[in-house]
Symmetry: C2
Subunit: 436 residues, 2 copies
């Protein structure tokens, strides 16, 4: 018997028929002899509908009010799911974030969890109940309701799994798991049976929308095994963990996930993420003097823009001047451009250029930096397809390149093939090979 | 400066435009120099929509789950209203039942208030904020959310008004106040400027849907002055109170409401309530022996039916046998009939008869019983219109008669006229006369 935390997103509980289907799935897990704690998001578009109503009333909603408004959605889905479970023969009780003992700071809109005291959940499990917990929400010291921000329900699930010492945290979604590349762009991509936290983080941070980095970071810090899988099928999804699993997990965690540790010395290409929602801003003719770049980025940061990649070219076109390019989410670009324009005299640059027609491809895998053939193979593949690269950034386990937006899909498929990630048969699905 | 509790029902906050209108109204009160605490129901049909979803999932929802489901509606309306108020320049904060310190027992679905500790509301008022409180909900000792049942938001408002020692509790609704009879049936009816708690209770209990008896009972027990008025106009509504108001209320409570005490020795016909949702069951040939009627009513009570009027005719058709007729809500009738049928052998009656085509007219006024001309006038008016009466019941301040359903409207108008309640000019609106 294992203790399993299962998280279902809004699309899995969009209407009462979906709720019934999800309930059937939870009961199937229970009937295998496991204890189940469920974390649930708001139904379908509920959150957006609530946001729309708020927007009709004010352009600047009070953040405390906005948080209590939004958390109504999970109250509805959690109680309906508990009713469906009970009706179908599995006694279930639902719990708000407060009742589940999820304490946060007072940062409305993106609160951080400060303490987990899930006593009532533990008691419910002991009593043989399925506990259904509202995702995305907590309570601060003032007993005011807070929300955890984007990916909040995933974070709730991982935090609960850690606090309850669950054997696994299952994240149910509308795809089968994490893939070596987006299957809509790269038809030959294959599902990853298992990845390490670090690769999952890089994939999530660079365009794979299936998981939020915050939940993965939480899982990594506390070694909570994650299993990302489809709520529409019984297929195994993608396991995310680092260590050899405890003996209790035999039969729950597949062998591929258990013996990752042994492979870590070899570069393992997990997959390729891509992101079409970034924009590139170039500051042309910034004085090449100490502190100039720092002041420029301070202006951008104060505008609330989240900077991704940065490239600086010094003295190429004009001595004593530098061009700095950086990427940022399209949604942040206007604010950043306005702030930079406003600070033009202070910063002393010549002009700004702005390009939203870019794509970013990120190759992710363990041990990449110590194996120079990886970048050689990447750039070779891109060169052969005639794709131009305008920026490059690397980390221990990732290489990202900026291409033209129209070139991105071609680039993705070429790189996927070059690294031997194309699924050619069942054996290719066992593990993403090194491509050597 | 007075402290005013204002309660707005679901139809007053049906959409964001209505919420904005209500916010304007609250701010107008505040701009008159008053402190305002607002109690709000769920938007429009929200509660019904939530109930429908629950019904799609289970025929027998767990009551704890149902309560937390339903309370989501008030969280949405209260936070949206607080946002609208703040946007329009009046700082406002919203509070759940729990945050407002509304403690209840654990009777889910119709919990009773056990303690009011509205510390946060008091602090909000002191800070110059408008406090918006979710109606209909509280929290039990287990920190589980409860609902107060039908009329729960009215009860929340009255309980808060009492706990905060508010000067008045304003109940906003979609009509102008309480009337001498339903204006849709009796076009000549007039609005009542003021009634005593007892009459308001009788009117509410016998068909006037504008207020729930429970809230009036609460107000009576703690002497909370109620003002029932329209959310669509600025007109004075109907004041409900018993005593001469405290000096602070001068200018808030009209003179007509303040000097009721003096009139109490004369019979004062407040108005006529009617109810078309009742059914009449007759148990024919019940043994006329001690305890037989008691056993029969025990059967009915155990079926969960709420009995209204009772009439017993002994030995009319058959010596040693009695016929007992009673009224009950249509919604309860099937359960009662099934239970009586099931117990036929035990109870030893001959047969059951059942009539849903009845109407009940209730004449309500203080000091009625000690003035026999009141009933003479009532029955005279009914006789002249040829309306047949099948049951009669009386209390200190009420006479109710059962008529045929089709006769009820005619009967209402005739009685309204006979007692001089028809509005003939402004002077008739000052106070419902004695009709002598």
């Amino acid at each position: 018997m294992a203790l399993i935390v299962q998280k279902f997103g809004g699309s899995s509980v969009a209407d009462t028929a979906s709720i019934r289907r999800v309930a059937g799935r939870i009961i199937a897990t229970r009937n295998q002899g496991h204890q189940v704690v469920v974390v649930v998001s708001a139904m379908g578009d509920t959150t957006d509908e609530l946001l729309d109503m708020a927007a009709e009333l004010t352009t600047n909603p009070n953040s405390r009010e906005l948080d209590i408004l939004l958390t109504a959605g999970e109250r509805i889905s959690m109680s309906l799911l508990a009713m469906a479970l009970t009706e179908m023969g599995a006694p279930a009780s639902s719990y708000t974030g407060q009742q589940a003992g999820i304490h946060t700071d007072a940062t409305y809109g993106h609160a951080s969890i400060t303490a987990m005291v899930p006593e009532r959940i533990a008691r419910a499990i002991k009593a043989g109940h399925i506990a259904v917990v509202a995702g995305f929400q907590g309570v601060n010291d003032n007993l005011d309701v807070t929300t955890l921000g984007r990916g909040g329900s995933d974070t709730t699930a991982v935090a609960l799994a850690h606090a309850l010492q669950a054997d696994v945290c299952e994240i149910y979604t509308d795809v089968d798991g994490m893939f070596s590349a987006d299957p809509r762009v790269v038809p030959s991509s294959h599902q990853l049976p298992a990845v390490r936290y670090e690769e999952a983080l890089e994939l999530a941070a660079h365009g794979a929308k299936i998981l939020h980095t915050r939940a993965v970071e939480f899982a990594r810090r506390y070694n909570v095994p994650l299993h990302v899988r489809s709520s529409f099928s019984d297929k195994e999804g993608t396991w995310i963990s680092n260590q050899v699993a405890p003996p209790e997990l035999a039969g729950i965690v597949p062998a591929a996930a258990l013996n990752q540790e042994a492979k870590v010395e070899q570069p393992i290409i997990s997959g390729i993420a891509h992101d079409k929602t970034q924009e590139k801003i170039t500051v042309i003719g910034l004085p090449d003097e100490p502190g100039a770049a720092a002041r420029m980025f301070e202006v951008v940061a104060n505008a609330g823009a989240k900077i991704g990649m940065i490239v600086q070219n010094v003295g190429v076109s004009e001595p004593g001047r530098a061009n700095i390019s950086f990427t940022l989410p399209e949604a942040d670009a206007r604010r950043a451009l306005e702030a930079l324009t406003h600070a033009k005299d202070d910063l002393g640059y010549h002009e700004l250029s702005d390009n939203s027609e870019i794509g970013i491809l990120s190759l992710v895998g363990a041990g990449m930096r110590s194996h120079p053939w990886v970048s050689a193979k990447l750039f070779g593949a891109l060169a052969r397809t005639g794709v131009n690269i305008s920026m490059i950034s690397t980390s221990e386990i990732r290489i990202s390149v900026v291409t033209g937006l129209d070139d991105l899909d071609v680039a993705l498929r070429a790189v996927h093939t070059a690294f031997g990630l194309d699924a050619v048969g069942p054996e290719a699905i066992v593990y993403a090979g090194s491509g050597r």
